[in-house]
């Protein structure tokens, strides 16, 4: 567990597996949980309506039939009240239809799937959490706990995780649409070490709330040191397309670091040979960098990493041997 993660003021918790690896969960917020709850309530109402309609068919069988129908409705409504959530959570591995639609899941606080007893218990305690109205007690309890647990969660050691947000925050593809350096741009031979690349990645972590300007400021010392090592000089404005130059001025340093990341994280050899990219004068895609941060999917990382290693594989075959 890195101390960085520990200090984070967000809704992540780190869980250690029995194998000794740490991994993170994103805790679901009250809003998504309320949405899931609303959907579940609607489904419950739907089921009850359906049962009531079915019960109408018992009416022709006289009073006994009507009584049976009415009793059935009452029993179903009792089961829905007290067991709807728990039965779904027990058999659908911590999800109800509403939770599934919102990408939520109930797990135990150690990250393991919920057991039937906890599922029943945490939902029994809804009766306490929903008091005096609209889950006020539950909400207060959520505000006071790190894992946003309502009373039922606290007593039965469960938490609700947001699997969808996890996926979004996993956005890879930081450097999608960023151009690697061309060899001609960096005359000095210098390989940026892994650690430095990791620092750059940290700077661009999507869940970090830093303004563009502040990130640029933070980036400057590192960026300037690297420029010196690499012998990189910012290009002059392109007379054919001066806008690009001025647009990128505000994010000069961050953009440089991203290009460093692109170039060295994916190919330790460093700069690309000019042979691979023919158009040396292609403008840098700034807008793409800005829009990427919310849209990139989880797969992007793997595919880009793998594509790159595939490229270097191909390159390896041509070479006799390479230093590790």
């Amino acid at each position: 567990m890195t101390p960085l993660i520990k200090q984070k003021v967000d809704t992540r918790v780190v869980v250690e597996t029995p194998e000794g690896a740490d991994f993170q969960f994103v805790i679901a917020g009250a809003g998504t949980r309320a949405a899931a709850w609303l959907i579940d309530r609607l489904i419950q109402a739907g089921i009850l309506a359906l049962v009531s309609i079915l019960a109408l068919f018992l009416l022709p069988f006289g009073e006994a039939g009507a009584g049976l129908g009415f009793g059935g409705i009452l029993i179903i409504s009792f089961v829905l009240d007290w067991f709807y959530f728990s039965l779904f959570e027990a058999y659908w591995n911590g999800q109800t239809p509403g939770k599934r639609s919102q990408g939520l899941r109930v797990v135990r606080t150690n990250g393991t799937p919920i057991d039937p007893a906890s599922a029943i218990g945490r939902n029994f305690l809804r009766a306490a959490d929903m008091l005096p109205f609209f889950y006020t007690v539950g909400m207060i309890s959520m505000l006071m706990t790190r894992r946003l647990q309502r009373l039922g969660d606290l007593v039965f050691d469960t938490m609700v995780i947001d699997e969808r947000r996890e996926r979004i925050s996993r956005a890879g593809g930081l450097t999608a649409n960023i151009e690697a350096f061309l060899r001609s741009e960096c005359p000095r031979r210098f390989s940026v070490p892994e650690r430095t690349l990791a620092v750059i990645e940290r700077l661009f972590e999507t869940d970090r709330i830093i303004s563009e300007a502040r990130r640029e400021e933070i980036a400057r010392p590192l960026s300037e040191a690297l420029r010196k090592r690499l012998g990189y000089v910012d290009p002059q404005p392109d007379p054919r397309n001066p806008h690009t130059f001025f647009r990128t001025q505000g994010v000069r340093q961050t953009l440089f670091l991203l290009r460093v990341l692109k170039t060295f994280a994916e190919n330790p050899e460093g700069t690309k040979s000019t042979a691979k990219t023919s158009s040396e004068e292609r403008p840098i895609a700034v807008t793409a960098y800005q829009s990427k941060r919310l849209t990139a999917g989880s797969d992007e990382f793997v595919t880009s990493e793998l594509a790159n290693s595939a490229v270097s594989d191909a390159a390896d075959k041509g070479r006799v041997h390479r230093e590790p």
């Binding site: 890195t2 000794g20 009073e63 009507a66 009792f78 029943i120 218990g121 039965f156 890879g172 990382f301």
Partner: protein, 329 residues
């Protein structure tokens, strides 16, 4: 090993793992092939190792997140609660529930006192001073209750309401079990909610009982022969479930040597057992109250059956699950 080499070496495993997990997710656990399972656990362990390696060498947060995601998926696929069979239900009622009840007899006694004392007091009030009872509980409802158990109950009412039995049974399930579960859940407010529900139910039931006692023989006999049978399960269960609420409160208030969280979890499970057992008892009570109690048979038969049921409940709670087996409790 540098980062690139590492990725290149391991990526086939990662991909294999990803496809395996997504395939297994789509199939039922019982249909998993043994080869897949052993692959899954082998790959999962190696990916856990990869994740630790990447974390310790700080090989970039993207790689870390990617592996983190893989581990999370594998963790969800591998670690599930053990599959349960129906024997769990039998074990619960044959051993676990009565044993838990006896272990927690203190909480039950507290709940019993909080129910029984106001019940007896208000019975006395209703009996001796019906006017006071009318003031407290409302004249109309008491009179309606008294009339319900009037002379003609079993000749008149049963014929009239024969069709309503199922409806009433359903109503008892919803209403009474709901109250019992509430009495349990509100124990989370350090037992105050449980107190409130036990007290208010004790008082209102007592008022009705006292009022009917004051009404005289035919009504009284109809009433007692009606309630004796299902009362055994119903009243006991409501008090047990209140006891569950107090177990919960105990876990919050007096953690003892445990941390408060630990204590909550421990007592939470114990209290849940009491509430669930009580729920089952109330379902039985509802069936009795719906189908047996209103039968037009002589009161003496009902007294005999009712007494037997009381004996059954008491001996079940006192003796069931003594002696060994079923995981020794």
């Amino acid at each position: 090993m540098n980062r690139e080499r590492f990725i290149r070496q391991r990526r086939s495993d990662w991909q294999q793992f990803e496809t395996l997990v997504s395939r297994l997710r789509a199939t039922r656990q019982r249909a998993w092939a043994s080869r897949d399972v052993s692959d899954l656990s082998r790959l999962y362990r190696s990916i856990c190792y990869d994740l630790s390696l990447v974390q310790s060498r700080e090989w970039g947060s993207r790689l870390e997140q990617y592996l983190n995601d893989l581990v999370a998926q594998g963790h969800n696929a591998l670690y599930r609660s053990a599959p349960r069979s129906l024997s769990v239900i039998w074990d619960f009622f044959a051993y676990d529930f009565p044993r838990t009840f006896r272990r927690r007899i203190g909480a039950f006694s507290l709940a019993l006192a909080l129910f029984l004392i106001p019940f007896l007091v208000s019975t006395l009030v209703g009996w001796q001073r019906p006017d006071v009872a009318e003031m407290i509980a409302g004249k109309e409802s008491l009179e309606a209750a008294s009339q319900n158990f009037g002379e003609d109950l079993y000749t008149d009412m049963d014929a009239k309401y024969a069709g309503q039995r199922s409806a009433m049974a359903g109503f008892y399930v919803k209403n009474n079990t709901g109250i019992a579960f509430q009495a349990y859940a509100l124990g989370a407010f350090i037992g105050l909610g449980t107190c409130f529900i036990l007290l208010s139910n004790g008082i209102s039931i007592g008022m009705v009982t006292g009022y009917i006692l004051a009404a005289g023989p035919p009504t009284t006999e109809n009433f007692f022969s009606f309630v004796i049978s299902h009362g055994s399960f119903e009243l006991t269960a409501i008090v047990i479930s209140g006891g569950g609420g107090f177990v919960l409160a105990h876990g919050i208030l007096f953690p003892g040597q445990r941390t408060r969280m630990d204590s909550l979890r421990h007592h939470g499970l114990e209290s849940l057992k009491l509430a669930l057992g009580a729920g089952a008892m109330l379902a039985i009570a509802a069936m009795l109250e719906g189908y047996f109690s209103p039968l037009p048979i002589p009161a003496s038969i009902k007294y005999v059956v009712g007494s037997c049921l009381w004996l059954l409940v008491i001996s079940y709670l006192s003796f069931a699950g003594r002696g060994g087996s079923a995981n020794e409790g």
